[in-house]
Amino acid sequence: MSPTELKRSRVQLHADHVSNVSSMDFPGTVTTGDGDDDLSWSLDRFKQSFDINITSLDPMTLTFDMINVDASIANAFRRIMISEIPTLAIERVYVAENTGVMQDEVLAHRLGLIPIRADARLFEYFDPASQTATDLNTVVLNIDARCERNPAAPDDTVDPYQKYTHFAVTSADMTWVPQGFQAEAFAVNPIEPVTRDILITKLRPGQAVKCELHCQKGIGKSHAKWSPVATASYRLLPEITLLQPIVGAAETEAFRKCFPEGVIGVAKNADGEPEAYVKNPRLDTMSREVLRHPQFADKVRLTRVRNHFLYTVESTGIYDPHVIVAQAADVLIEKCKAMRKALVEVTQLGVEV
């Protein structure tokens, strides 16, 4: 790799600092001299180089690689997944009875954070001006939990779960009250909390929690309870380059131990001697331990590939994680379209340009 190419496409890690951090893939910055110097935007070129590789998918997590995009785009996707994809969450709690030890406002806050499985795309935002709840903007859930002594409990038990009925109030106690179109639209996938074992509060005999919960549509930007992801993150693909061969049983073993298990492999070379090779750089945490060893510091180069992003999207369970990524793209497109519309409006107003 030429020094220019290295500078352009890799972030380099040193013992005490990181270099080549900013991207420089813009017209008029650098030339590689290999004929591929046009750095202006071209959709065709982008389509040729861009790629996505899915590693694994299950209902809660998705891992995939996004290759050949700039950090600003990768970051836009991550940020949108966290804070701009609408979901439904409990926004209003009407407390009829709460005689437990937990105060109303603490209870309401805890309820708000429980993920509710409902497709927010079928709903509208609650209009704060009219303050009118309709079947299109509100989902109603009920909690009615009353704790009593359990007459069937063994005399010698100290376990409150046996001694009392309804000792713990959990998300399983939330029941959905369909409104208007909802009963039909959600007949197959009834609206409910994503998991049924979320502890909300605990009660003693004679105490009760009775409230009506109104879920509204919102985005993570205004409150984290509306975020559809537990987390969405990316890291750059680690790359380890051996500048000189590392040979010999003791040397290779010491070298291998500088990295997490599975990153470095050892194989017999042509002379029959054990030689280290890079087996799976993806597993590396980029701890830079190897650079602390003077015998290795000049033999290895630690870099990260600047335009290769390894995403991990962890859903809260409301949407499948691949749906969140697809929706993020839609949100970004919508943002641009809205901006274009606003631009036309502003320029037509006769603003001097």
Partner: protein, 94 residues
């Protein structure tokens, strides 16, 4: 020319800045958020005179839409290939 965008943040501003800088006619593009508690972004665009800043801005938005649409179609087609680690019980719905 400086564009002031309300209710936007780094998400749009940084990707748009990158896209504008990709345009050879744009000699300078940068953005700033003057105050963190004000939902406002200033994007400054300066061109070499061959196009106006408004046109460059609009082209940047169009290019960003093209890019995102391609990312989405690629992602959807890769997911539907099912050539990755996925439980058999999982049905792919959008």
């Amino acid at each position: 020319m400086t564009f002031v965008i309300r209710d936007e943040d780094h998400t749009l501003a940084n990707s748009l800045r990158w896209m504008l800088m990709k345009n050879p006619a744009v000699t300078f593009c940068g953005y700033s958020i003057p105050h963190p508690s004000e939902a406002k972004v200033n994007i400054r665009v300066q061109t070499d005179g061959s196009i106006t800043a408004v046109d460059a801005f609009d082209k940047g938005l169009c290019d960003l839409i093209d890019l995102t649409e391609h990312v989405k179609t690629t992602f959807v087609s890769k997911i539907e290939k099912l050539d990755y680690e996925v439980p058999d019980t999982m049905a792919i719905t959008w």
